[in-house]
C-alpha cells in the first residue's frame, strides 16, 4: 500500500476535528471502521485512532461483529 505515513501525533490531534464528521456518518446506523473510512474518504488506520479515541471518551460504542469487523454506533457520551 502506498499511503502517506503521517505522524501519529498529527493524526490523533485531528480527532477533535473529525468527531462531528464521524458522528454524522454514524447517524445512518452502526458502521465498521472501513465503512466510516470510506464515507469520510480517509485512511482506515487514521479512522481507527479517531474512533477508538471517541470510544474511550464515550462518544461511540461497539455493537455486533460481522465478518471479522465490529460496528460502532454513536452514544450519548460518558457522564451525559
Amino acid at each position: 500500500m502506498k499511503e502517506e505515513v503521517r505522524d501519529i501525533r498529527e493524526i490523533i490531534r485531528e480527532e477533535m476535528l473529525m468527531r462531528d464528521k464521524i458522528l454524522a456518518v454514524l447517524r445512518d446506523g452502526p458502521k465498521t471502521v472501513p465503512e466510516i473510512a470510506q464515507a469520510l474518504g480517509c485512511p482506515s488506520h487514521e479512522v481507527m485512532y479517531w474512533v477508538m479515541g471517541m470510544r474511550k471518551y464515550g462518544h461511540v460504542a461497539e455493537t455486533e461483529e460481522e465478518d471479522g469487523y465490529y460496528k460502532y454506533r454513536a452514544v450519548a457520551g460518558e457522564g451525559k
Partner: protein, 902 residues
C-alpha cells in the same frame, strides 16, 4: 525533610524496596516522575508463567506504597540532583512538576478529561489511542488524580497583550464548541466582534504553524466565533453580577480600554458608569475605523456585552476633572479617553477649507455626516493605517482620484502591507518619497498642493532613514480635498495641573498598576501609551480593573501577581515533536471586489464553518493544554488550578536506591520490519495493552482497519541479541511474554492462528518450560527461523520472509494479518546524570553497575547508593522483586552502619 532512604522510581522494584524498608521502620521517600506509581508492570495484561492479572498484583502494592505510614511518595516529580553532604548524607533536590490540579480536591471523576479539547497520544496505551491534555494516567492509577499537561503558554496566547487565550478558542472552534469559544474570549474582553475584524493580530505573528505553511487565521476565527454567537444571540445571555458592591467606579471614555475595564469591574460587583464625550459610545472603534472594516452594528453588539452587566453609559459628557467625580460619589475613576487629538503637519494652508485631519474626516463619516467627494481629487498625507483607511473611505465617497502621499518609500510605510494592497486594488495611488510643502488655496478654499520630492538620508535616532528634501524638485499637485494623517495625540490639556502628565501629553501612571498621581484615579489605553493597537487598549483596561479592584478592597497594589502566564513554549521544541507534517495550506483571504461609491459593505468575507474548523484544525497545540478552561468549568470539586508552578524541594537521605527501570527497544530501528510504516506491525508492549482489561480497543483488533486478526505472528529477539542495533544481550523476558500473549490470544480469539518465529526459546526459570510447552500444546506454531524482512499487501496483511532453520535453512515466506515484534529491553541511562560529585558507574551495557554482584547484590560504585530491579540489567518480575528486596536489605544495613558509626 529527612529520610533514611530515597527510592528513585516506583515500578515494581522501587515499590518493593520501599515497602520492605517501610515495614522495617525506616522513613522512605519515593520519587516517581509519572502521575501514578506502578511503573510498567501495571500496564501489562497478565504475568507469566502463572497468568495472574498484573493489575491484581500491582495495585495492592501501589496502594500500600502510597498509604504506608513510613513512606512518602512524590508523584509527577523528578530527582534533579543527588549530592553527598559533608555529614555523609545525600542532599537531594526534587522538582515537583505542576499538575495544575489540586490533588487534595480532585476526586478522580474524569470530568476534566471528558471535556478537554486537546488530543495527544496516550503513552500509557503505547500510543495506540488518544488521551487528553487533562488526564488520569490510567484507570488503576494511584493516586487516581488528574494532571494537566502544559508545556508553557502557547506562543499565540503569549503574544496577546490582553491575555486573550487564542489557543483556547482555536481549540474550541476545532471541536465545534463555538459558544464556549465566545465565552472564553468574553472572559477577557467584551469587544470580540471588533477585535475579530480590526485587531492587528500579534498572535498570528507568533503562530508556530507560520514556520510551516503559514499561520492560522486566528483573528478571523475570533470573528467567526463572534459572528456565530451574535447571530444566535442578538442580546447577551449574561446578567449583572449577583452580589452588587456599594462602591462605584467611573470610567471616562468608552473605547476598548474603557469598555473592557467596565466589564471586569461590573463582573466584580461594582456599580460602573461610563462617561463618553461623543454622541455615541465605542471610542476609536466607532469613530476611527471605517465601517467597511468594522460595521458599527458589530460595535453596538460588543457594547451590549458591557451594558448587559448593568454598566450605564452616558454620552455627550466631557469629563474635564476626573478626580472631581469623587464628589459625585465615585470611589475610583478610570481615565481611558484615547487619542482624539491629531497632530498638525505644520505647513502653510493647513486651515484652508478642504483640508481636514484624518480623525476628523473618519469621525464625521462614521457618525453619519454627509460628505461627498464625488468627482474630486483627494490627497492623503501620511503613511500609517489611518492614512490608508482615509484613502479607502475617500474612494467610497466617490472621489475621482485618491492619492496617498508619503515622504519615505513603501518599505518604510507603517501601514500594513495587506492594507496597502487592498487600497491599491481599489484604485488608490501611492506617491512615495514626496511631501506637501504648502497647501494652496483661492478665496480660502483649497486648490492644490505644493510638493517636493524626498530622498532617504542616514538613519535617525530611531533607526529609520530620515527623508531629506531634494533641492529643486518642487512640483504642484492639484487637489480638491486633503486629509492629513500624520499621527494621533491625546487631548489632555484640561487635565494639566489635575493629573501628572508626560511631555507628549499622555497621562503619567505607574506602568504596573496604572495608578495616576491621584491615588483613586487610574488611567490606561492610548491616553497613557499613545496611539496603539486596540488589543493593547484592551490589555490596559483589563489591568486597570484588576488594580482598581485591589485598591477598592484596600489591598496592596505593588508586587501582586497580575500576569500568571507561564513562559511561551519554545517553537522549535513544538515542531520537533513530530517527524513529519502534512502540508495544510492556509485558507486564502477573500474580499469583496468592485467597490462602488457609497458602498460601505464589509469587504473581508467571513470564514465558512468548514473553513473555520479546517483552519482551527491546523493548530499544533503548542502548549499542549490550550487553556480553554473547559476543565475549570466542568470540575465539580473546583480542583483545577492553572496558577500552579513547579516547585523545587530539598530533602536529605542517608541512603539511595536507584530503581529507574528499563526502556523498551525502539522498533523503528529495525526498518526491515516496517514498524511505524506498516500499520499491522505492532510491538509486544502494544499487544500487551491490547490484551489488558484497560485496553485501547474493545478487543484485540488490527490497527490498520479494526479487523479481528486471525493469523498472528510473533518475531522474537527484536532488538535483542542483535549486534546490528548494538544490543548483544538477551532481553530475558521476550520469549516468555510472547508465550504469555500466545496463550491469551488463543483464549480471546479461539479461531486465531499464532506463529512464533524464534532463534531459541529461553525457558530458564521455574515453570517456564511447562509454560512454553503449554502454549505449544494449545496450538501455537513455533518456527525456528530469523525473519529477514516484511512486506505489506494492499489489504494490510503482511508477508514475512524468513530462514526456516528446522527445514534445512531454506528461505520461506508466510502471510499473516498481524505481526508482533517482541522487542527487547534497554538500559535507562538517564540515571547517570542524577549524581553530582560521586560517579555512578555503568557496566559495559550501560546498566547500573553492581560492583560486587555475587556477594553484595545491589551495591553500586557509590557508597550508600544501591540499585534495584531492571536498572541493573534485564530481569523478569520475580527476579526484580527479589533484587529489590536485596537492595532494601543493603540500604537498611548501610543506614544502621552509619548510625552505629556515629
Amino acid at each position: 525533610m529527612n529520610y533514611d532512604v530515597l527510592v528513585v522510581g516506583s515500578g515494581i522494584g522501587g515499590m518493593e524496596s520501599a515497602l520492605k524498608l517501610g515495614d522495617m521502620g525506616y522513613k522512605v521517600l519515593v520519587v516517581e516522575k509519572e502521575p501514578s506509581v506502578g511503573g510498567k508492570m501495571i500496564l501489562l495484561s497478565k504475568v507469566f508463567p502463572t497468568l495472574d492479572c498484573a493489575s491484581c498484583i500491582s495495585t495492592p502494592k501501589m496502594a500500600a506504597t502510597t498509604h504506608h505510614p513510613n513512606i512518602d511518595v512524590m508523584i509527577y516529580s523528578e530527582v534533579e540532583r543527588i549530592k553527598r553532604g559533608r555529614d555523609g548524607r545525600f542532599q537531594v533536590r526534587v522538582r515537583k512538576k505542576p499538575t495544575f490540579v489540586n490533588q487534595a480536591l480532585c476526586t478522580g471523576c474524569r470530568q476534566c478529561e471528558m471535556t478537554c479539547n486537546v488530543a495527544v497520544p496516550d503513552q500509557y496505551n503505547a500510543d495506540m489511542v488518544a488521551r487528553r491534555a487533562a488526564y488520569i494516567a490510567f484507570p488503576q492509577a494511584v493516586p487516581k488524580k488528574a494532571v494537566i499537561e502544559r508545556e508553557g503558554t502557547s506562543p499565540c496566547s503569549f503574544a496577546c497583550p490582553a491575555g486573550i487565550k487564542a489557543h483556547g478558542y482555536v481549540a474550541l472552534v476545532r471541536a465545534g464548541k463555538y459558544q464556549e469559544a465566545f465565552n472564553l474570549i468574553l472572559e477577557t474582553t467584551p469587544v470580540i466582534g471588533s477585535l475579530g475584524r480590526a485587531c492587528y493580530a500579534p498572535c498570528e505573528g507568533e503562530c508556530t504553524r507560520g514556520d510551516l505553511e503559514g499561520p492560522l487565521p486566528i483573528r478571523k476565527l475570533k470573528r467567526f466565533v463572534a459572528d456565530t454567537y451574535y447571530r444566535e444571540h442578538a442580546e447577551p445571555e449574561h446578567k449583572p453580577a449577583g452580589e452588587v458592591k456599594d462602591k462605584k467606579v467611573a470610567v471616562v471614555g468608552s473605547g476598548p480600554a474603557g469598555l473592557t475595564a467596565a466589564m471586569h469591574l461590573a463582573r466584580r460587583g461594582y456599580r460602573v458608569k461610563i462617561f463618553e464625550a461623543e454622541s455615541r459610545p465605542g471610542g476609536m472603534l466607532r469613530l476611527a475605523i471605517p465601517s467597511y472594516r468594522l460595521p458599527k452594528d458589530v460595535v453596538d453588539r460588543d457594547i451590549k456585552n458591557v451594558t448587559a452587566l448593568g454598566v450605564e453609559i452616558e454620552t455627550g459628557v466631557r469629563v474635564e476633572d476626573p478626580a472631581g467625580l469623587k464628589e459625585q460619589g465615585f470611589d475610583a475613576v478610570f481615565v481611558a479617553t484615547g487619542t482624539p487629538g491629531t497632530r498638525k503637519l505644520r505647513v502653510e494652508g493647513e486651515d484652508l477649507d478642504g483640508v481636514m485631519t484624518s480623525l476628523d474626516f473618519l469621525r464625521r463619516v462614521n457618525l453619519g455626516e454627509k460628505i461627498s467627494l464625488e468627482g474630486k481629487t483627494v490627497v492623503v498625507a501620511g503613511g500609517g493605517n489611518v492614512a490608508v483607511d482615509s484613502a479607502r473611505v475617500a474612494v467610497r465617497l466617490g472621489a475621482r482620484r485618491v492619492i496617498v502621499q508619503y515622504r519615505r518609500s513603501r518599505a518604510e510605510m507603517p501601514a500594513h502591507d495587506w492594507e496597502i494592497k487592498g487600497a491599491e486594488k481599489e484604485g488608490v495611488e501611492f506617491q512615495y518619497l514626496s511631501a506637501p510643502q504648502k497647501f494652496i488655496g483661492e478665496n480660502g478654499k483649497l486648490t492644490g498642493i505644493e510638493c517636493i520630492k524626498m530622498e532617504l538620508g542616514p538613519p535617525d535616532a530611531g533607526g529609520r532613514r530620515k527623508p531629506v528634501a531634494v533641492k529643486g524638485s518642487e512640483y504642484r499637485l492639484p487637489a480638491d480635498f486633503v486629509i492629513t494623517a500624520v499621527g494621533l495625540a491625546p487631548a489632555t490639556e484640561q487635565l494639566a495641573g489635575r493629573l501628572e502628565l508626560n511631555q507628549n501629553g499622555t497621562i503619567s501612571v505607574n506602568p504596573e498598576t496604572l495608578q495616576t498621581s491621584v491615588p483613586f484615579v487610574f488611567a490606561g489605553g492610548d491616553v497613557v501609551t499613545g496611539p496603539s493597537m486596540i488589543v493593547n487598549a484592551v490589555a490596559q483596561g483589563r489591568r486597570a480593573a484588576f488594580f482598581i479592584d485591589r485598591y477598592l478592597r484596600g489591598e496592596e497594589l505593588e508586587g501582586t501577581g497580575y500576569d500568571y502566564r507561564m513562559p511561551a513554549v519554545d517553537k522549535q521544541k513544538v515542531t520537533g515533536r513530530q517527524r513529519s507534517y502534512r502540508t495544510l495550506a492556509p485558507v486564502p483571504g477573500r474580499e469583496v471586489t468592485g467597490v462602488r461609491a457609497g458602498d460601505f459593505t464589509e469587504i473581508e468575507l467571513p470564514l465558512t464553518v468548514e473553513e473555520a474548523r479546517y483552519s482551527a484544525g491546523r493548530c499544533l497545540d503548542c502548549g499542549v493544554c490550550s487553556e480553554c478552561r473547559q476543565c475549570v468549568a466542568a470540575c465539580p470539586a473546583g480542583a483545577i488550578d492553572m496558577t500552579m508552578r513547579a516547585e523545587e524541594v530539598d530533602v536529605e537521605a542517608s541512603s539511595v536506591i536507584v530503581s529507574t527501570g528499563f526502556k523498551l527497544f525502539d522498533a523503528n530501528l529495525k526498518p526491515q520490519y516496517g514498524y511505524g510504516k506498516y500499520k499491522n506491525v505492532i510491538t509486544g508492549m502494544q499487544m500487551d495493552r491490547l490484551l489488558a482489561p484497560t485496553r485501547p480497543y474493545n478487543t484485540v483488533l488490527r490497527p490498520h482497519d479494526g479487523k479481528v486478526p486471525d493469523n498472528i505472528a510473533f518475531i522474537l529477539c527484536t532488538g535483542s541479541r542483535d549486534c546490528t542495533v548494538d544490543n548483544p544481550l538477551c532481553s530475558r523476558v521476550c520469549c516468555m511474554y510472547s508465550v504469555k500473549q500466545n496463550q491469551l490470544i488463543m483464549g480471546a480469539l479461539p479461531l486465531a492462528d499464532v506463529t512464533v518465529y524464534y532463534i531459541d526459546i529461553r525457558a530458564f526459570s521455574k515453570g517456564y518450560e511447562e509454560f512454553y510447552q503449554q502454549a505449544s500444546a494449545m496450538g501455537a506454531n513455533f518456527i525456528k527461523g530469523r525473519v529477514a524482512r516484511i512486506e505489506e499487501k494492499e489489504d494490510g496483511n503482511l508477508v514475512l520472509h524468513y530462514e526456516d532453520i528446522d527445514n534445512g535453512g531454506k528461505l520461506s515466506r508466510a502471510e499473516h494479518d498481524l505481526v508482533v515484534l517482541s522487542v527487547g529491553l534497554l538500559p535507562n541511562t538517564g540515571v547517570f546524570n542524577l549524581f553530582d560529585g560521586d560517579k555512578l558507574e555503568a557496566d559495559e551495557f550501560l546498566y547500573v553497575k553492581e560492583v560486587n554482584e555475587d556477594v553484595n547484590p545491589g551495591q553500586t560504585s557509590i557508597d550508600g547508593v544501591f540499585v534495584a530491579g531492571t536498572a541493573s540489567g534485564a530481569k523478569d518480575i520475580p527476579d526484580s522483586i527479589l533484587h529489590a528486596g536485596a537492595a532494601a536489605a543493603q540500604a537498611a544495613a548501610y543506614v544502621e552502619r552509619i548510625r552505629m558509626s556515629k
